[in-house]
Each structure stands twice: as structure tokens, then as C-alpha cells.
């Protein structure tokens, strides 16, 4: 029997149809309503829950009123509701408060309908303690914690509830600065990681009878291969993200998930470094400096998102040939048909980096991928 939390952000997605690029903050919500925006999240929630009505091996816990309860009532499903004061209209604080309560109720997994803003509110409380499933309902969906469609989210939840998922991975929580975006500037940041269930897209080949390797296994394979081919006398700048942190974990050093670390000979010599610290370290050494990066899941950003401390100057001093790109095969398959991206803020440098890069995806395996 699984206990699953279900949170709906009732205002998620409202700003989109009326051209507001998002619905973060009470003023924007008011403007959206004034412009005639209608709530969409409840429909999404109902469409997902409808496919899960017949499951009896689950205990649902949700929030009062528009934050979930209404969806369960309209379908006539059994559920328990959190007690507590929730504001109307709801805000990010309510999402965070509901998340805390869900943790207290010992949910096994938390699902939520919303967008990047909602994901950030959940992540601020939950971190990577309990797995989550994001149901896409927001305007901004840059985070990798969301299933591609509500239908997919429903499938993942069903598999999880039936006890058919035992593999999880860390997925990015991203958000853009809505204010800047409304002014036509895109500035996205990486806010953290949450744990998501890995749902195999595919049935395994009956022909080869190959066991589906778990994504954690693939990550370990990658880390083992990459760390074993690191030079002893090169300083490696390890970029942000879960894939690169897999290398530090494998080396047994306490790497930073969202920051940039420097290692040499398997030892950490700089942790969560600022742009200035990195620059000074490069200036102070006569050794070769290299960089190991991994694209952001689902996005493909390699530079300029979540790792702004790797400034154009630093990238230049390392040089294109000094950059190694690593990713699990699943991450690359998710990007199928989309190029890797750089946005260093320096047009000329972006231009120099363009072309094709080699992405290490496993032991002795590389994928050539376009970079734009």
C-alpha cells in the first residue's frame, strides 16, 4: 500500500493564455484574472486522477478545496485531506506549507500539478528526500521533474502505485526570471534537484533479453569510466548537476550539486567556487585545466544556465578542447532531435563553441551531438 500526496496549484498556467509568461506572485495573478484567464490546473488534475480511479493499493492525501480536494470529490474517489489554513487565492507559501504537512503524514511520493514556480516551492521543502512526480500544468515548464504530458504522469503514477518502479534519479528544478522574460530577456537558473521515478519508456527487447539497466547503474558506469580516464596532473573543474556529482560521489569526495568544484588527482581543491575563485585558481597554476560538464536534462543547456560561474573568460582559458561533456544515454535520448545549447553571454564565444561535441555516454561510448 503506497501513500501518495497530491497537490494542485489552482492558479498554475493561468498567465499563459493571456500572454503573461507565467503566474508567479499575487499582482500577476490579479492581472491574469483581469485579462480573463481561467483556471486550468483542476482539469489537468482530474484527467490524471481519472486513469487512477480503479487502483485500490493506494492511500491518497490531498489539500482542501481547489488545491486537490475538489478533483477527488468530482470523481467520487476515496481520499484524506490535510487540515490547516490555506489562503484563497493560494500562493507559493501554501504549496510549501502543504508539502511540509505531506512529509509529516509520511507520504511515499508526492505528485503536484503546476509549473516551475510550483516545483520550486515543493523543492524548497522536500529537497531530494521523497520522490515527486510533476504533472505539467504551468506556463513555464523548464524543470525536468515534470512528466512530458499529464497522460505520461498518470502512467508513471500507476506503475509506481503498483510497485513496478524501484529506480529513481535526480531531476533539475529550473525556473526563469518572469519579470525579465516579460521584458524579453531569458534568464534561467537551476534551483535544485528532486528525486523522480524512472519510468521506462519502452518495453525491453524480447529479442536480446537484455536486462534494463537502471539509470543509477548507467550513472555509475559513466562515473567509473570518466574518472578512470582522468589525468593525475590536470585540474578538473566539475560543473553543476547530478551527472557530474556522480563523478565526485564515485571519487568519494563531497561534491557540490549546484556549484562548481575543482579536483586534481581525485582530491578536492576548491568547493562551490565563485567565478573569481575559479579565475584566481587558473591564474595561480601552471597545470593544465579542464572542465567536465553535463547538459541540463530536457533542456540541453551546457553553459549559461545553472553554471554562470563558468564565465566566458574561464571557458576561453580552458578552451574548447579542454571541455568534456558527459550524460547518461537516457538524457541524450530525451534530447532526441534537439541540439545542446550554450548561452555564455558572449556571442563570439558561443559562436566558437558551436558545431559538434562528443558526449561521453558510457564506458567507451560517445555520441556526437550538435551544439548551438
Amino acid at each position: 500500500m503506497k501513500t501518495v500526496g497530491f497537490i494542485v496549484n489552482p492558479v498554475a498556467g493561468m498567465g499563459g493564455a493571456v500572454g503573461l509568461k507565467g503566474t508567479d506572485g499575487p499582482e500577476i495573478l490579479e492581472r491574469a484574472i483581469a485579462l480573463g484567464a481561467v483556471p486550468k490546473a483542476m482539469e489537468r488534475a482530474i484527467s490524471v486522477l481519472r486513469g487512477l480511479m480503479d487502483l485500490d493499493e493506494v492511500r491518497w492525501i490531498t489539500c482542501p478545496g481547489p488545491m486537490g480536494e475538489e478533483a477527488f470529490l468530482s470523481l467520487g474517489m476515496d481520499f484524506e485531506v490535510l487540515d490547516g489554513d490555506f489562503a484563497i487565492p493560494t500562493t507559493g507559501r501554501d504549496t510549501a506549507f502543504a508539502t511540509e504537512k505531506m512529509i509529516d503524514m509520511n507520504v511515499d511520493l508526492l505528485s503536484f500539478v503546476g509549473g516551475d514556480g510550483t516545483a520550486r516551492d515543493v523543492a524548497s521543502v522536500i529537497g531530494d528526500r521523497i520522490p515527486v512526480v510533476g504533472i505539467p500544468g504551468g506556463v513555464k515548464l523548464h524543470s525536468a521533474v515534470f512528466a512530458k504530458t499529464p497522460l505520461k504522469a498518470g502512467e508513471i503514477l500507476e506503475r509506481y502505485i503498483r510497485g513496478r518502479i524501484d529506480d529513481f534519479r535526480l531531476a533539475e528544478v529550473m525556473d526563469i526570471d518572469e519579470e525579465a522574460f516579460r521584458d524579453g530577456r531569458l534568464s534561467a537558473s537551476l534551483y535544485g534537484y528532486m528525486r523522480v521515478p524512472v519510468s521506462p519508456e519502452a518495453m525491453q527487447s524480447k529479442k536480446s533479453g537484455r536486462h534494463r539497466e537502471s539509470s543509477s547503474f548507467r550513472l555509475k558506469e559513466l562515473a567509473c569510466y570518466v574518472t578512470s580516464s582522468m589525468d593525475e596532473d590536470v585540474i578538473y573543474l566539475l560543473g553543476s548537476g547530478a551527472t557530474v556529482k556522480g563523478l565526485s560521489d564515485y571519487l568519494g569526495i563531497d561534491g557540490t550539486l549546484l556549484g562548481v568544484d575543482a579536483v586534481i588527482g581525485g582530491r578536492m581543491i576548491g568547493k562551490d567556487m565563485t567565478e573569481e575563485e575559479i579565475r584566481k585558481a587558473i591564474e595561480a597554476t601552471s597545470l593544465k585545466v579542464a572542465m567536465i560538464l553535463s547538459p541540463i536534462g530536457g533542456q540541453g543547456f551546457l553553459l549559461g544556465r545553472g553554471n554562470q560561474q563558468l564565465s566566458p573568460d574561464i571557458v576561453r582559458s580552458v578552451g574548447k578542447e579542454g571541455i568534456s561533456v558527459i550524460a547518461t544515454p537516457e538524457k541524450m535520448e530525451e534530447l532526441f532531435g534537439k541540439p545542446l545549447l550554450v548561452d555564455t553571454g558572449d556571442r563570439e564565444l558561443d559562436e566558437e563553441l558551436r558545431g559538434f561535441v562528443s558526449v561521453i555516454v558510457g564506458d567507451s561510448r560517445e555520441l556526437i551531438w550538435p551544439l548551438e
Binding site: G51, T149, L151, R164, P200, E201, A202, M203, Q204, S205, K206, K207, S208, G209, H211, R212, P329, E333, F336, G355, F356, S358, D363, S364, R365, E366, L367, I368, W369, P370
Partner: protein, 523 residues
């Protein structure tokens, strides 16, 4: 569209058949061999003592103890619960080239003239078998345009491994082994092409497809260097898309001193149309068990014949079949060869079938096979694409060669049912389709390869079944949800198939995993 095509009523047998070991009854026998009478004993003794002690069993084999009728019934039950190439329009097993293998070839292959041979017989006593092997190789020199061949590899991946082995030996010989450590393949080439070079110590670099589904030529330029040992390309790939620029790829690879290796497991649409030689390949393997009249499936026995240009002949697995005057022999004098890669000399029954098939068709016949296979495929493609919810990968690129990879993406978006659901339901119509489409990047994929063996009516039937299923997804979801209804097994738990801890592919493994019958090995 397929209004006139017949969709037959079908129901698979279900016998609830135990495993044969569970049917064993101590003391039951199929044959009781009589004691030898005195006259016989006089001339040959007891018939056993003549066999050296070291060659005699010390205990009885652990076979099930059963009477003949029980054995016969058991296997007939299993046959009825099965669906094989001889039972159905087998074109949904896309990229497997499931086609009709003429029964007369079976008669040749199972003739005692073949089955009674032993690989350790003296060459002088197996001239016929060697001649068949030699002549088959001669045929493949024509089919591929290359100069020499090895029949040893026991399957497609093994053929690819043989190519990787030749590449390695060749560069070792030239003193370039340490530098040339990379092999380039493509996203939609067979997964074996990306796997086997790693076994031989190479690093594998995979090219992405461009927007037309062809290997990206710009990426290829970026990937090539003086470290490139070889390219391993499948063409056409499993999408059915033929790379018409293949000579640009091989030409550029040559400039870098790399060898060009051709995975011709998808050769069924190319016979007498395009050859490895003209595409500038140095090595190529063919699956005799797909294209050349051996039933494909169940993991063998098979043959992945490898053909090579003259300058690589010395590196092929030893021995090679050679003709001196009117005698055939096995040439072991190959100092540069990697040696043997398989027991003995290849899978003779497969070789015999392939030879019989090629000789019965002749050059024009082989060409006709491919032309009909291509025609069938493009006919089916047109029909399938008119079915609601069905689309094709890389739609801007048609026609296709002998197969095509389709997608139920729209069906899934509209109805929630995808390729897995269609696969469950199709069993109710006495046919099947396959669900392995590595790499899994085309959403809700299925692959169809009609080959030349099927009539227009057969193809119409298969398309009509898929059309019916699509319609049910839209109008009658419950039928799909609870499918299959007419199959031996009404619910298949795929998760078990993905979990080696739950598999048992032998009786011993089953006992070990489920009964604790055998001691687990202590590490």
C-alpha cells in the same frame, strides 16, 4: 480502405501444459532396447564393452522419463500454443526479415548426407560439404562484390565481431593498433555495431541522424580523425531509410585511413541492386538466417557470413575453404589470422539452405526477391499511413527500402493506447508484432518488414487487422484494455521478462530459483 480484406476468427489453443520435467514418471520409457541374443553377442560382444571406459557414462542422464505418445502430445501442445512463421503473416516482426524458407531446402539440410557428417572427418571424405561451402562463398563474392569470405560466425552480432577482429588484426600488423582506437557507427545502425567493437577494445562514437533520418554528414566530419580505425554502418537502417550518400561517407573514411565495415543484416532489399564493393566497403557481413532461407529466430543456429576485400583476406578467421585443382580443402596456413572464432567451420545446415536457395533463384531471381520486397513494403506503407493514429518516422523521407519504422504517437495522444496495447490486441487476430526498436526514440514505435514472401491478400489482411485495432482504440477502449482475449495467455506480465532474477530459461535455473533444489553457488 481495407474493406474487402478478410479478418479471420482466431483462437489460440491453451493446454495448460506443464514443463516436460514435471511430466516425468519414474520407470516410463519411450523405447525399451532388448537384451542382445547369443548370436549377436558372439559376433560383437555385448555392444558396450567395445566402447572405452572413459567414453561411457557413469550414471543415467537426467532426462524426463516418458512414453513416446506422451512426448509427442506434449510437443504438439506446445506447437499449438505457439505462433510461428509458418502459421501467420509474420511481417510485424519488423527488421527480422521473417520470410518463407522453402521446405525443399529443409529436406536438403536435414538429409542424412549432411546430418551424418562429423567435423573431424578427413577432408577427403567431406569433399561435397566443402564444395557447397566454397560455392556459397563464390555466390557471395558476386552478391557483395568482395573477394574472400568466412562462414564461421554463428550469427549477425558474431559477424560484426569478426569484422571488428579483422580490423584490430589489420592495424596491429601495420603498427597502428595503439593509435587507431575509435570506431564510428550511426544512431540507427544495429546495436551490435556499437557493442562489438567495445569488446575488441575500441571506443565507439555514434553519429546522430539529421532531420531526414540519415546519419549526419557534418557530425561525421567532426568525428573522423587519424584515430578512426573503422566505420560500422548498417544501410538501410531499421527505419528503412537508405543512405544514398554512403560513398561520401566511405570515401571520407578512407582519406583518414579507416576501414569501412558494412552491416548487411538488412540486405533483403538490395540483392542485385547495390553492393558493398561499389559503396567502397572493405568488409561486410550477411545474415544467412534472415535473407537466405533459414528460418530466423530463437537465437540460432545461424550464420553471419563475412566477406572481405583481398588485402584483408589474410586476417579472416581461420580456416578458409580453398579449391586446388578439383579438390577442396581447409586452409589453416594463415599466420595473420585471428584464428578460430567458433567451433568447427560454420553451421552447415544453414549454409546448405542458403546455397540451395541462391542456386534455385539465380541472379535474376535474387534481384526479383528484392524488387518485390521493396514493392511490398511501399504498398504496406501507403496502407498503414492511411490508418487513423499511425504515422512514420522521418515522414519527409520516402520511399523506404524493405522495411519502415512507424509510430502510434497520435493514437496514444488521442486514446491513451500505444504500441504496447496494439501489440497485446494483435494476438487476438492470429498474428503478432514485435516491440524492440532500439534506440527507443521514435515514440510508440512499430516496425514492419513485408519481405517478398507475402501475397497482396496477406498484406491486406495484416493492414486490415491494424486498422481494426486502431478503430477499437478510438471506439471500443474496453476491448483493447483487456486484450488479448483469444490468446493462450491472457495477461503477460512484462516486468518479469525484464528481470533476470525472475527468469528461468533452463529447468535447472528454475529449480534453483524457485525450489532451492540445487545449491546456490557460493562466491
Amino acid at each position: 480502405m481495407n474493406k474487402t480484406a478478410m479478418i479471420r476468427r482466431f483462437h489460440q489453443a491453451s493446454w495448460d501444459e506443464p514443463i516436460i520435467f514435471d511430466l516425468s514418471e519414474p520407470g516410463q520409457r519411450g523405447v525399451l532396447v532388448p537384451e542382445a541374443g547369443p548370436k549377436i553377442e558372439e559376433s560383437v560382444g555385448d555392444g558396450l564393452s567395445a566402447i572405452p571406459e572413459s567414453m561411457r557414462r557413469s550414471d543415467i542422464p537426467l532426462l524426463p522419463e516418458m512414453g513416446q505418445p506422451q512426448v509427442l502430445r506434449h510437443f504438439n501442445h506446445l506447437a499449438q500454443e505457439n505462433l510461428g512463421a509458418d502459421y501467420n503473416v509474420d511481417i510485424g516482426q519488423g527488421t527480422c526479415t521473417m520470410k518463407y524458407s522453402p521446405k525443399v531446402n529443409e529436406i536438403f539440410a536435414t538429409s542424412s548426407k549432411i546430418t551424418d557428417l562429423h567435423p573431424y572427418q578427413d577432408e577427403s571424405t567431406v569433399q561435397g560439404a566443402l564444395e557447397v561451402m566454397y560455392r556459397l562463398g563464390e555466390c557471395f563474392k558476386e552478391i557483395s562484390g568482395l573477394d574472400c569470405f568466412s562462414l564461421q560466425p554463428g550469427g549477425g552480432s558474431h559477424g560484426a565481431l569478426a569484422m571488428a577482429t579483422v580490423v584490430r588484426s589489420y592495424f596491429r600488423d601495420r603498427g597502428e593498433e595503439d593509435r587507431r582506437d575509435e570506431v564510428i557507427t550511426t544512431f540507427f545502425s544495429h546495436p551490435a555495431d556499437a557493442a562489438v567493437p567495445i569488446v575488441k577494445g575500441f571506443k565507439v562514437v555514434v553519429l546522430p541522424p539529421d532531420k531526414d533520418g540519415l546519419p549526419d554528414f557534418e557530425a561525421f566530419k567532426a568525428a573522423l580523425s587519424d584515430r578512426t580505425a573503422a566505420i560500422f554502418f548498417t544501410n538501410p537502417e531499421d527505419t528503412g531509410i537508405f543512405n544514398g550518400r554512403i560513398k561520401d561517407f566511405t570515401g571520407l573514411a578512407r582519406k583518414f585511413g579507416a576501414l569501412c565495415c558494412y552491416d548487411q543484416a538488412n540486405a533483403n532489399g538490395l540483392l542485385g541492386i547495390a553492393r558493398a564493393k561499389e559503396a567502397d566497403f572493405d568488409l561486410s557481413f550477411f545474415n544467412l538466417h534472415k535473407t537466405f532461407s533459414s528460418p530466423h529466430g530463437c537465437g540460432g543456429p545461424a550464420t553471419g557470413l563475412v566477406a572481405a576485400r583481398q588485402f584483408l583476406g589474410a586476417y579472416l578467421p581461420a580456416p578458409l575453404v580453398v579449391k586446388k585443382g578439383d579438390r577442396f580443402s581447409l586452409d589453416w596456413d594463415m599466420p595473420k589470422s585471428c584464428g578460430k572464432i567458433k567451433a568447427f567451420y560454420g553451421t552447415l545446415p544453414v549454409i546448405v539452405r542458403a546455397y540451395a536457395w541462391i542456386m534455385s533463384l539465380g541472379a535474376e531471381g535474387l534481384n526479383e526477391v528484392s524488387r518485390v520486397a521493396i514493392l511490398n513494403n511501399n504498398y504496406v506503407m501507403k496502407k498503414l499511413l492511411s490508418i487513423k493514429g499511425c504515422s512514420i518516422s522521418f515522414p519527409d523521407h520516402s520511399p523506404r527500402i524493405e522495411q519502415a519504422r512507424y509510430s502510434w504517437r497520435k493514437l496514444k495522444e488521442d486514446t491513451g493506447f500505444g504500441t504496447e496495447d496494439v501489440q497485446r490486441r494483435i494476438a487476438d487476430f492470429g498474428t503478432h508484432y514485435w516491440s524492440s526498436h532500439e534506440p527507443w526514440v521514435i515514440p510508440e514505435p512499430f516496425t514492419v518488414e513485408p519481405s517478398e514472401s507475402y501475397s497482396k491478400a496477406d498484406l491486406d489482411e495484416f493492414c486490415a487487422i491494424l486498422e481494426r485495432i486502431s478503430q477499437e482504440c478510438y471506439d471500443d477502449p474496453d476491448t483493447i484494455r483487456h486484450a488479448p482475449h483469444n490468446s493462450t495467455i491472457h495477461h503477460v506480465d512484462h516486468d518479469v521478462l525484464d528481470d533476470p532474477d525472475l527468469w528461468a530459461i533452463t529447468w535447472r535455473a528454475y529449480k534453483k530459483k524457485y525450489d532451492g533444489y540445487f545449491e546456490r553457488r557460493k562466491d
